[in-house]
């Protein structure tokens, strides 16, 4: 079976960047099946990248290697990481792009440190080419993850009470980063933008016109909506905005 490497970036499609990453991957792993998830994430939009890869990975076979390069901190101290989760590999910066996967799947995180698998010299500005692409290609070829770097515990983890706006859909519904599966249906408060939300709806028509509510969206995340209106406009928020949840102690979250 040819190994799969997917790409999710904010490089756009006009420049040579995505093509160059593919050249590097194929030089190391000539049989790789390379799949573009998207190169049109908003520039530096970590939330959007996190949402995109979290929506996509479940449909890929075991051992797929997912590279995410939305990396405003490239060249700084932020660490490159390899996440093993759901039988697949995730390669990218430790900046939250894998946050939704970390909060949903059992996982092991390693720091990418073995320079043997880098393209040298490593530039300060294009780790997609020099670091993430070659490491992904070596993993796709079958290098064991332990060779890439040591396990770490101090990676960026989403806090259960702190979320973000992942996306605003064309109706103005706000897709948050809170998984719908274990969200409290009562006694909660979501603080978002200029307002707060305290009611949970079973369907979109449950509340009256103009009333804000939370609902389990088709994306698998809690969405904030308002009957016949744009919740995003009403609350004044855009992707990346923080959402804070206060609620009574939640039950343990299943890991798989």
């Amino acid at each position: 079976m040819p190994p799969i490497v997917t790409l999710t970036t904010d490089f756009g499609l006009s420049d040579h960047y995505a093509g160059v990453m593919k050249g590097v991957i194929l030089g190391i792993c000539p049989k790789a099946q390379i799949v573009d998830i998207t190169h049109e994430c908003g520039a530096y939009n970590i939330s959007e990248a996190a949402f995109t890869i979290a929506q996509a990975y479940r449909y890929f076979p075991a051992k797929s290697v997912h590279v995410v390069v939305v990396d405003p901190g490239v060249g700084t101290a932020r660490r490159p990481i390899l996440v093993e989760a759901a039988g697949q590999f995730f390669v990218g910066p430790d900046n939250g792009v894998f946050g939704l996967i970390l909060s949903r799947e059992k996982h092991k995180v390693r720091v990418i440190s073995n320079e043997r698998y880098f393209l040298r010299p490593v530039s300060r500005t294009f780790h997609g080419r020099d670091l993430f692409a070659p490491v992904a290609a070596h993993l796709a070829r079958g290098i064991p993850p332990s060779r890439i770097g040591k396990g770490i515990d101090d990676y960026l983890q989403p806090k259960p009470s702190s979320g973000t706006v992942l996306k605003v859909d064309r109706f103005g519904n706000i897709i948050t980063s809170f998984p719908a599966a274990d969200f409290p249906h009562e006694q909660f408060t979501l603080l978002v933008g200029k307002g707060k939300v305290t009611r949970f709806a079973a369907n979109y028509a449950q509340f009256g016109r103009g009333e804000l509510f939370a609902i389990a969206g088709s994306s698998g995340y809690i969405e904030i909506s308002v009957e016949k209106g744009s919740a995003a406009k009403l609350l004044g928020v855009a992707p990346g905005a923080p959402v804070r949840l206060s609620a009574p102690r939640r039950s343990g979250r299943p890991d798989s």
Copy 2:
């Protein structure tokens, strides 16, 4: 020879949808060569998808599987179909996206019904992922078409006298869905938008300024043009607009 699966959709390139379809395909048929024809069809624009796939399929080798997902009726009673034509396979909704191929090639149409080849549970909103991608991948792997579903006769067929505007080019020429090969050169009337066309031109300069004419375009379809002007503006039409042909009884149309 690795099997080929092509994709033609209106999903755009910013979201995870096309990537997810590829994950599903590669999970079933790991060696597939997946080719994007386009994901930039206008939203719900069946005519544009029909034109795009009809322009592309001839350049693909035998047994290629073409998936077209421009599907405003997803979740309704419209049927999913498999078309066998020109030694290739076409998978998509029975809504006209294969109309130009059906009118040009000998064909057999099956309803896609064998749930064994679906991704279950089948959602109401994303048959590209749950139905068309997996069926295409199974066909690419070599499953015989007869296993997908029974042959049907009551699929949507283009009527010889009813056409549509497939595209308006940047000069304002109107590309219609009437194949140039068997179009009458005289004694015809094309009713389109605010006007009608009754003359056939051998070249673009044959008629005077401002006069409408039909011409055999480089696309293989009848185009409506006007010397030094925009036929689309003059007639007030856009892609998807109906074009009606009245003509004396036409000779039989060759099937291949």
Copy 3:
């Protein structure tokens, strides 16, 4: 190892053109790994295509075949060429798209003339499909270059003193086609747009506000900048604009 064919065009992603080229390639070389560098070069923008492929090819393995179709002269007397350089193949029109590679790498240029490797009949408008894609696929399959056509010496070559604006970045810096490696650091004049540049900077902050200077950019080419401003606006230039260099006799340029 599956052979690699890359594509760099100005076709955009809405139409069937890029997909059709891939169908042609896979019909001839079914195992090809096809990589899109970009299909979003500006229409007819030869400089942009030249810059894009020159930035990309170094990251591809030996024997990769790079197809560039930005070809305003298609159908005219401009010749199709095959360039062998850096252990790779470059296929496209003889119009300057390979200029930066020719000025940097040892090379051999052939005219593409053996119609046996074309898709016939060759159209006047789509050599990407009828000529460049099939020739590239045959090369990818292992046909020796000598079969494609004879070596020529009278191909379009960049003159050392004549350059162009390859790109303007979002800060207004002008990326020229002069390689940074062998550029004189003093006693030079660059004539560009409404002004001239005679100073070379080691870093961006070396000169005062409003002063134009040349600098070795991260792209590997000489860039023209102005501290805290847009050099492109100041000089009134856009991609494709000519840049003329006068300088004392330059030392020989290394070929590899």
